[in-house]
Amino acid sequence: MSDVHAQTVAYVAPSQIPPSPPPARERGAVKWLRANLFSSISNGILTVIAILIIAYALPALVQWAFVDAVWSAGSLSECREIAAARGVEGAFACWAVINERFNQFLFGFYPEELYWRPILTFLLMFAAAAPILFNAIPRKALIGSALFPFVAYWLLWGGPAAPVILAIIGPVVGYVAFRFVEKAMHGDAGATGMVVGALAMVLWWSFVPGLVDAGPALEPVESARMGGFMLALIIGITGIAASLPFGILLALGRKSDLIFIKTLSVIFIEFIRGVPLITLLFVASSVLNYFFPPGTALDLILRVVIMATLFASAYMAEVIRGGLAALPSGQYEAADSLGLDYWKSMRLIILPQALKISIPGIVNTFIGLFKDTTLVSVIGLLDPVGIINPIRADSNWNGIVWEFYVFVGLFFWVFCFGMSRYSMYLERKLATDHR
């Protein structure tokens, strides 16, 4: 048959024609522009306006922040002299102040010869966070993560090692108490066991570590000397790390059938959510003092950390409750029909799904809490925003405003952007949805 064709048809392509490139308007930069910036007339207008605004603002900003900026000087007037000598007219950034007070922005008034301790803590924080954040790291590393809070406390505040080691035993004591209750109740400990375990742990922490003062001692550093980004990180990271477990417990408590636990959770959540954080901070800084005999009051930073944690926990609980509510009831029933008890069904079936749904909300709360740490400047703690004041009061630097806030803003942006990126990574990794 083919022979026939070969004779009757003038030309037959021996192979497929190579595909021709898409038309110019459907590829490369042009397509991207058309799709993203000029997809419709109104979009095009908005794009042009946006470009005009950027073109108007950016050169002035770059001029202010980089071209005309003075990077090292001893005072604002010196900054002005240097700028004038270079023929700068108008506003310019005097970054010299950040340069000179950089350490105060990082560490507050932490003793200079001990800077290695917060730095080491910061690095250890990444090491401790890695096994929690990424699955690829061996699970055994989680033990290190669990020890990190104690080590960090010891490194930052100093003092003898023995109380810290005794404090590490606290959770073990709690676990033993839990097992004891479990045994007494024939393997069905549940909420009672957890409460008893937590109580045992808190009691242990309240009384035992203070008894012994032995062990290798680091030079103690009092809280008043801590400030700057270090303080923001202490409050923010502790609040973030502690609010998730508390939030999960509260969310479960609110959905619990046990009326006592449910009422308690609801009261706690509604009370904390109904009160502004700044009020809680004032309570932490002022009112709590009235209830302690003078000199024995909890450390101010500790009080603030507790308040920030409680605050974030209440929000976290509602975010997670949203996740729980989003699960179809079939999931709960399926867990029950497998014969799992409450905690097992939560741990193995309900929470993994509910938490995954809640990731954007959880990270949202984290970021919110981290930014809220700047509120502590109102009660006189010298966090990055609070420390601006005493620096500005130095007559060498009085008159500088924007540089401080730009610098502090940049810091917070870096951290919050990092968190947001991680949450997107996590969502992608865990995506098992019904696409």
């Binding site: 008034f109 800084s285 009235y290 005493p390």
Partner: protein, 340 residues
């Protein structure tokens, strides 16, 4: 409901006992812990600020250091609690700090109602006006119709309203929150006039690129006596703070300086100097302090005039004149009771 009442009662009782405990023998507590816990501002130019080294310093801070020097002979035996306008009084009332030296105006209600004892006045301030020279105004009476930058929620706001009403003038307020914001607004010509305490005006003006283009008008429209304060209920402690401060004032009046105090402490022919520096009588012991407590203050901190000149005087960037804060012998208001 009953139960809540019960809890409230317990909490209130706990609060009372704590407050009661806080008032007992502060001097003994301070001696036992080895330092004075002093509340200062989070930052007022010249009065309280941090150096590059992280040390607190300034005119108000010097009062704290003087008390420490009086008790321990060491001006460094102080721990500072930065307080804001909102936390300062609760911090003092709750016993978190032993004394407050934070440009706080001595008023009736703070003294009586809030139950504090002002031990003296270390700076006589008053509300003033600053205007650009180009405006050509020489008196506050010419400010009719002006736009005024004013901090909201302060006594300055009320003083301003009173002053303009008394003088039958009108003004347009531009509310601002902080001094930093005021500087920006004023320099951007968002308001014609900036009003706050005169010391604050001077400090603000000193940071301008061209301070000479702005004038502070001669009218002072309010009394703002700023001074250190302690809690009610411990008069012995109040005496310690009061006389630590008075010693600085008397030292200036009598010509005792940080340079010549060692020499004078060996004995002079002026009996009041001798009493103060401990070569005559047992005045230190009456306070529960060493007899050379005043020597320690003047040696390590300086007399009032020295401290004034170091932090806010004419040779500093703040550049304040003594004015009302001169000794009574120089036409000022500084008039410490005799050391006798």
């Amino acid at each position: 409901m009953k139960r809540n009442l019960l809890i409230g009662a317990v909490a209130a009782a706990a609060g009372m006992t704590a407050a009661g405990a806080a008032s007992a023998a502060t001097l003994d507590d301070v001696k036992a812990k080895g330092f004075v816990q002093c509340g200062v501002a989070t930052g007022v130019p010249g009065f309280a600020y941090t150096e590059a080294s992280g040390e607190w310093t300034g005119f108000d801070v010097a009062v704290c250091r003087a008390v420490a020097a009086a008790i321990f002979g060491d001006a460094q035996a102080v721990k500072f609690t930065p307080t804001t306008g909102k936390t300062r009084f609760t911090a003092l009332a709750s016993g978190e700090i032993d004394m407050l030296a934070r440009n706080t105006t001595w008023t009736f209600s703070r003294d009586v109602d809030l139950k504090f004892t002002f031990v003296g006045v270390n700076y006589y301030d008053g509300q003033g006006f600053m205007v650009p020279k180009a405006l050509g105004v020489t008196s506050a009476k010419e400010l009719d119709g002006a736009t005024v930058c004013i901090q909201t929620g302060t006594t300055t706001e009320l003083n301003l309203a009173d002053y303009f009403r008394i003088n039958n003038m009108s003004y347009e307020p531009v509310p601002i929150e902080t001094n930093a914001e005021a500087q920006q607004k004023y320099l951007a010509n968002a308001c014609d006039v900036y009003t706050t305490d005169a010391s604050g005006l001077a400090a603000t003006r000193s940071t301008f690129e061209a301070p000479k283009d702005h004038v502070i008008l001669p009218e002072i429209i309010s009394k703002e006596p700023l001074g250190p304060l302690v809690r009610h209920g411990d008069s012995e402690w109040a005496d310690v703070v009061r006389w630590a401060f008075n010693a600085m004032v008397i030292a200036e009046e009598l010509g005792v300086t940080s340079e010549n105090v060692e020499e004078m402490a060996k004995g002079t022919d002026n009996p009041e100097i001798n009493r103060m520096l401990g070569t005559e009588g047992e005045y230190g012991a009456m306070l529960g302090l060493d007899k050379n407590f005043a020597v320690n203050i003047i040696k390590t901190v300086g007399n009032y005039g020295e401290v004034f000149n170091e932090f806010i005087g004419p040779d500093t960037a703040i550049g304040l004149e003594r004015g009302l804060n001169a000794q009574w012998t120089q036409g000022g208001l500084l008039y410490a009771p005799p050391f006798r």
